[in-house]
């Protein structure tokens, strides 16, 4: 088990190094940071001093090693745009994005899995047909449009939910949470639904397809022949066998939700990392972009590791090593 985790971490390292290389390369190839930082009016001596203080006169590998070293300590330099440490900016914004992503994932799993099971079991009921039609809408409508429609209905017409922002937040250490206040929770609803809708439909369709597949298998037929109750067959035997692909997709989707919350955050003016990223792109704020890239890579690598561990928990066939085969 421990060996498995260590080996997965070792496999993840090259990924992180490559992403770091790409992030680092941005400094060299996307604009000239020295020119950006100096502004219009400078002397050659000032330029030399800045180049030296940034370490830009040193060889490529030394610079890269320094970048990695700093990154490992959570230092990504100063934002060009805001002149504040990047780590601080991200720390400020991360809770908003992570809470949003978590809620969106929760929405998509809690609704998507039961809907998938239902549509798989009762293929021809009118409710299944409705779910499938509805899921087609979820898949085909762009996120920003769904967001705007939800704002129109629930904020403008009905006035039930706020149309932008996080509402009131509570500070717990460096983490600012919107989960503990009524207005914070209300503010979460529309963005979570907007962000989770696509994943919801995806998970529903995946669970449905897997259920249809599993329900045809011999072990389900045998479970029926043993006279087990429907509930035990559908949820114990069938659903559990659909979980491996569902975990894979849900895991990758969670990464996607965190990384690509940009559109939703823009629509709802959600003060998260996505909004920070899009503002940074607009002003070529390379340190922020580089740090964001690294962070998202780390998120994906971590999620993949968790997904692998979940496989391990779900499917005993993967727990090799301690298995003794019979004769």
């Amino acid at each position: 088990m421990l060996a498995f985790i260590i080996s997965r971490i070792l496999q993840a390292l090259p990924v992180m190094v490559v992403v770091a290389l790409i992030s680092f390369a941005m400094f060299a190839y996307v604009g000239d940071p020295v020119a950006i930082m100096l502004g219009q009016d400078f002397t050659e001596a000032q330029r030399q001093a800045l180049v030296a203080s940034l370490g830009l006169d040193r060889p490529f590998f030394v610079q890269f090693a320094k970048f990695i070293w700093n990154a490992m300590h959570g230092e990504f330099g100063l934002s060009y745009r805001l002149s504040r440490p990047v780590a601080e900016l991200i720390q400020e914004r991360a809770p908003a994005t992570l809470e949003l992503a978590f809620c969106a994932a929760l929405v998509s799993l809690c609704a998507g899995v039961p809907m998938g099971v239902y549509t798989g079991l009762y293929r021809n009921s009118w409710l299944s047909r409705f779910f499938l039609t509805f899921s087609l809408i979820g898949v085909s409508l762009p996120t920003f449009l769904i967001g705007i429609l939800l704002i129109l209905v629930f904020s403008v017409w009905l006035g039930w939910l706020p149309s932008f922002g996080r509402g009131d937040t509570v500070q717990i250490g460096w983490w600012s949470t919107g989960l503990l206040t009524a207005s914070g929770l209300k503010a979460l609803v529309l963005p979570s639904v907007t962000l989770g809708l696509f994943q919801l439909t995806l998970i529903m369709r995946l669970v449905r397809a897997e259920m249809l597949e599993v329900l045809r298998t011999d072990y389900i037929k045998f479970a029926k022949a043993r006279g087990l109750a429907n509930r035990a067959i559908n949820f114990g035997h069938a659903l559990k066998n659909t979980l491996v692909p569902v975990i894979t997709v849900a895991g990758l989707q969670l990464g996607g939700i965190i990384a690509f919350a940009i559109v939703t955050e823009t629509v709802f003016q959600w003060p998260g990392m996505g909004l920070l990223f899009i503002q940074s792109v607009n002003s070529a704020d390379i340190p922020v972009m580089a740090a964001y890239l690294m962070l998202i890579a780390l998120v994906f690598v971590t999620i993949n590791l968790v997904v692998d561990l979940l496989y391990y928990a779900v499917d005993p066939r993967l727990r090799v090593g301690n298995a003794k085969r019979g004769h």
């Binding site: 298998t217 043993r226 006279g227």
Partner: protein
């Protein structure tokens, strides 16, 4: 003795876009308590379909369109799903062909046994587990008390089929429907599994319907045998009679096609032609296009099971009204 299972004129249909296919047509037989009935025939003859109809698990859109299935004199073919569920496992156990796919890979064999025992016998976990270990011992799993917490993939094919047998028997049903229980196994394991099945059925007084296309297995295990062809029973009778003195031309062809082990033969006997598709079953006797003894009546009228002495055969040759010399006339004409 009144039969444990009685199948009367069973008809199974599959509605398709191109019309209704009749997969089983007028199948009738019975199984006495403690008796082993072998069911043989080519692939697609309806052997497995008959088993599936009895346990009430026909694959949709298949449906029982006529006839009756009686267990202990009570109809079970028209029960609601939930009533039938209580019969499956408890009254009628089932064993399937491929032990590699019959067990749920994500649960230990103990979990699956305990679950089945608890469902039907309402015991607490500890008692159910004790019984589960007992069953594993009975089917010959070594170190059953330890192996009970193993997952199916940790067993070999033969061992898995033993687990499947334990699962089918653990609620002590009176009838086992075994659908090709040894087909997927190594030849060396087949005999062991058959011996086990036969021994357990005898010890528990369990009746068995043994579906297979392996005549060796039938000859060794069954008391009576039913030969099926194109969804109908061609011949049924004591196993010795059907194997040694088959009356129906199809059973005769089937027995002749078993290669003899005691002498060398240059050509293996075979029945010319192929079994008709369900959509193209000929009028009269379904076997008439391939039958060496065919005569005029076979082409128009479908034979019912007729007494031939020891066995019953669905063949006009055994109807005293038929022209005895008709086959000769046909052949020379």
């Amino acid at each position: 003795m009144s039969p444990l299972l009685e199948v009367r004129d069973l008809r199974v249909e599959f509605p398709t876009r191109r019309g209704v296919l009749t997969a089983l047509d007028g199948v009738s037989f019975s199984i006495a308590p403690g008796e082993v009935l072998g069911v043989v025939g080519e692939s697609g003859a309806g052997k497995s379909m008959t088993g599936a109809a009895i346990i009430g698990l026909l694959e949709p859109p298949g449906r029982i369109a006529g006839g009756q299935i009686l267990l202990n004199g009570k109809r079970i073919d028209n029960l609601r799903y939930d009533q039938m569920r209580r019969i499956r496992g408890r009254e009628i156990g089932a064993i399937f062909q491929d032990p590699l796919t019959t067990l749920n890979p994500l649960y230990t064999v103990g979990d699956q046994l305990v679950e089945t025992i608890q469902t039907h016998l309402g015991l607490d976990v500890a008692e159910a587990r004790k019984r589960a270990v007992g069953w594993l011992e009975m089917v010959g799993i070594p170190a059953a008390a330890q192996r009970i917490d193993s997952y199916p993939h940790e067993f070999s094919g033969g061992m898995r089929q033993r687990v499947v047998i334990a699962l089918a028997l653990c609620a002590e049903p009176k009838l086992i429907v075994a659908d090709e229980p040894t087909t997927a196994l190594d030849v060396s394991i087949q005999a062991q599994v058959i011996a086990l099945l036969k021994g357990l059925a005898r010890d528990k007084g369990t009746s068995m319907m043994l579906v297979t296309h392996d005549m060796g297995v039938i000859a060794e295990t069954a008391d009576r045998v039913a030969v099926m062809y194109a969804g109908r029973i061609a011949e049924i009778g004591p196993v010795r009679e059907v194997v040694k003195h088959p009356k129906h031309p199809y059973s005769a062809g089937l027995m002749a096609s078993i290669p003899p082990l005691d002498r060398r033969v240059d050509h293996l006997a075979q029945i010319d032609g192929a079994m008709p598709r369900l959509s193209a079953i000929p009028r009269g006797c379904a076997f008439n296009p391939r039958c060496p003894e065919v005569f005029a009546r076979c082409l128009v009228e479908r034979p019912a099971l007729l007494a031939t002495g020891a066995t019953e055969a669905a063949c006009w040759l055994y109807d005293p009204v038929s022209e005895k010399h008709a086959p000769e006339a046909m052949r020379h004409g």
